[in-house]
């Protein structure tokens, strides 16, 4: 299956999309770029810690709502399109903490409508989340907990370093929410640096954290996380992130996203020199 087909077939306007990775690390940028090229609309994004991928999708007007506990460009600054969209009220925010996302996915996984959280009590989260409710222990103690709602993803989009042709995937570094997203999303689309044989996965640390049963489509896409990192292959491309922040988004989109094949994109982004820079 090609990148184009994977997005065309599996992502619908209005879907709740889970994005794997964290911050500048192992984000499925190739898939996000394809979503932009196909001009998908009204998506709700759910990601643990969002960065450039969220900012790009907002800039391209693909997003109507965001669920994340952090969206920023880390040490490089704020995420400009994200800020602008929220400050102007053009997208909705579901205010999340790490645990509301982790437990929301876990609730989906266990097919229960909510999970109890001892935390966020005393914060202002409940004031802006009318789908979170403080309840007393139904088993009779007087302990107060927060009931936080399940998160049922329509599609999870993930990038991994290793996958086999069946969709067993190995993530060399941190898994973060990727496995819970893969298990709970109705569809899971994975891009991978490399296709390996199933037998080889057993020798990779962590083995197949994502089993084939949870994968809907696998597309081989080396450097598919660029300009974010994909451990243990390459680190993030700091220069590209700086360039992104210094350009108007329309300009960026025209130069790097529109009508660009993956190879063309990599060439424009610096080609071999860039690749040599980021490789670990």
């Amino acid at each position: 299956m090609t990148l184009e087909e994977a997005i065309a077939e599996h992502v619908q306007n209005g879907d709740l999309i889970g994005i794997g990775g964290l911050s500048f690390w192992r984000k499925p940028i190739g898939l996000c770029r394809e979503i932009i090229r196909q001009n998908k609309k009204d998506l709700t994004l759910c990601t643990f810690v969002g960065g450039i991928e969220v900012d790009m999708l907002i800039g391209a007007n693909c997003i109507s709502e965001i669920k994340a506990c952090f969206v920023g460009m880390e040490i490089f600054g704020m995420a400009p399109n994200y800020r602008k969209a929220i400050e102007s009220g053009s997208i909705k925010v579901s205010e999340e903490s790490e645990a509301t996302i982790a437990l929301g996915l876990r609730a989906s996984y266990l097919k229960v409508p909510f999970m109890p959280l001892k935390g966020i009590i005393g914060t202002d989260f409940p004031k802006v989340r009318n789908d979170i409710k403080q309840i007393v222990d139904p088993l009779g103690s007087d302990v107060q907990v927060m009931a936080v709602p399940k998160i049922d993803l329509d599609v999870a989009i993930l990038h991994v370093p290793y996958a086999d042709e069946y969709g067993n995937c190995n993530i060399s570094g941190a898994v973060w929410m990727d496995d819970d997203m893969a298990k709970t999303a109705k569809k899971t689309i994975v891009t991978t640096e490399r296709i390996v044989e199933t037998e080889d996965i057993r020798y990779l640390p962590g083995k197949a954290q994502l089993p084939q049963q949870t994968t809907t489509a696998v597309v081989k896409l080396p450097f598919g996380a660029h300009p974010t990192s994909c451990y243990d292959k390459y680190t993030f491309d700091a220069s590209h992130i700086q360039a992104y922040l210094n350009m108007n988004f329309e300009e960026y989109k025209k130069k790097f996203i529109h009508s660009k094949s993956h190879a063309e994109y990599l060439d424009i982004a610096g080609g071999s020199r860039m690749i040599l820079d980021i490789l670990l």
């Binding site: 040490i75 005393g122 941190a174």
Partner: protein
């Protein structure tokens, strides 16, 4: 080797003070984009806390070995991990464990007199003047830590230090209305700033001056704080960094000065960032471990 350093910058003073908070049996949580915290933990590790363990959120890993602070290669610690935490265990693990003596530093955009913090927005949440990146796990964890939570900011001013009614969003619980959080943690322990070392009054739970940095006067601290700061009798001066601490920090722990990105702004910051990136790309061994243990 307790000779006092005469020449140090604010970022160095703050980093040293943060390092001093680490105990030898701590698990030190290194977040993302907090190089000053990483530098502080590594300085602690190579001085008084050799057994402390890094818990890198980047990688969900537990690591023993100290490495030179890096901008581009933080994730390479992953290869040194002796423990991984998959999935949401990472997020939830730190949360309730009575067994972990975790130390984590949070950097709030706003903080009130009770150590409640805001990393969500400036202005009304529905119509913010500035949307901030978010609080990540602060809402979840700050009330739980048995060692308490630790705060820092290099921006000690009345925009950061505000009375509760001007805190636009409580995204991290300190001592709400002067009481400990319901979650069982002991609450904020200190706030380390560019002007002073602040902590909390045992009775009122309100912020007070612990020590004041060399060269800073009490009036400056008070005037830079948007609420009434408790000023105990006879406030001491902060013990400055030692020559050894500064040398380790500059030469071994963070020779590229990555920690400084947390205190600089504008052009100065841009230039340093470029410089760091170029230097890291040019390094042959991109993630050096050559840290001498004193």
């Amino acid at each position: 080797m307790t000779e006092i350093a005469r020449d140090y910058t604010t970022d160095e003073l703050m980093t040293v003070l943060m390092a001093r908070e680490v105990k030898n049996d701590d698990v030190m949580i290194v977040g993302v984009a907090t190089p000053m915290v990483w530098a502080a933990f590594t300085l602690a590790k190579v001085t008084h806390a050799p057994d402390a363990i890094y818990h890198y959120i980047m990688g969900n890993t537990f690591v023993i070995e100290p490495r030179q602070v890096s901008l581009l290669y933080l994730e390479m610690n992953t290869a040194r991990a002796y423990r991984f935490q998959n999935s949401c265990e990472c997020t939830l693990e730190s949360l309730p464990s009575d067994k972990l003596t975790t130390i984590e530093f949070f950097r709030p955009a706003q903080v009130d007199q009770y150590g409640n913090t805001n990393n969500i927005c400036i202005g009304d949440w529905k119509n913010p003047k500035i949307r901030l990146p978010g609080c990540a796990g602060i809402a979840d964890f700050s009330g739980f830590y048995s060692r308490g939570s630790f705060l820092y900011t290099p921006r000690h001013d009345t925009r950061t230090f505000v009375p509760t009614e001007k805190l636009f969003f409580i995204s991290g619980v300190g001592f709400p209305e002067g009481k400990p959080s319901m979650c069982g943690g002991i609450g904020p322990q200190c706030m380390i700033t560019n002007l002073a070392y602040l902590n909390f009054d045992d009775k009122t739970r309100k912020m007070k001056i612990g020590t004041i940095h060399p060269g800073v006067d009490i009036e400056t601290v008070k005037n830079s704080t948007g609420f009434e700061l408790i000023v105990p009798e006879g406030v001491n001066e902060t013990t400055p960094p030692t020559v050894e601490e500064i040398a380790l920090l500059r030469e071994k722990v963070d020779p590229l000065g990555i920690r400084k990105l947390e205190v600089l702004a504008g052009k100065e910051r841009e230039d340093l960032l470029d410089q760091i990136i170029q230097k890291e790309l040019a390094m042959v061994n991109r993630f050096p471990k050559s840290l001498s243990i004193s």
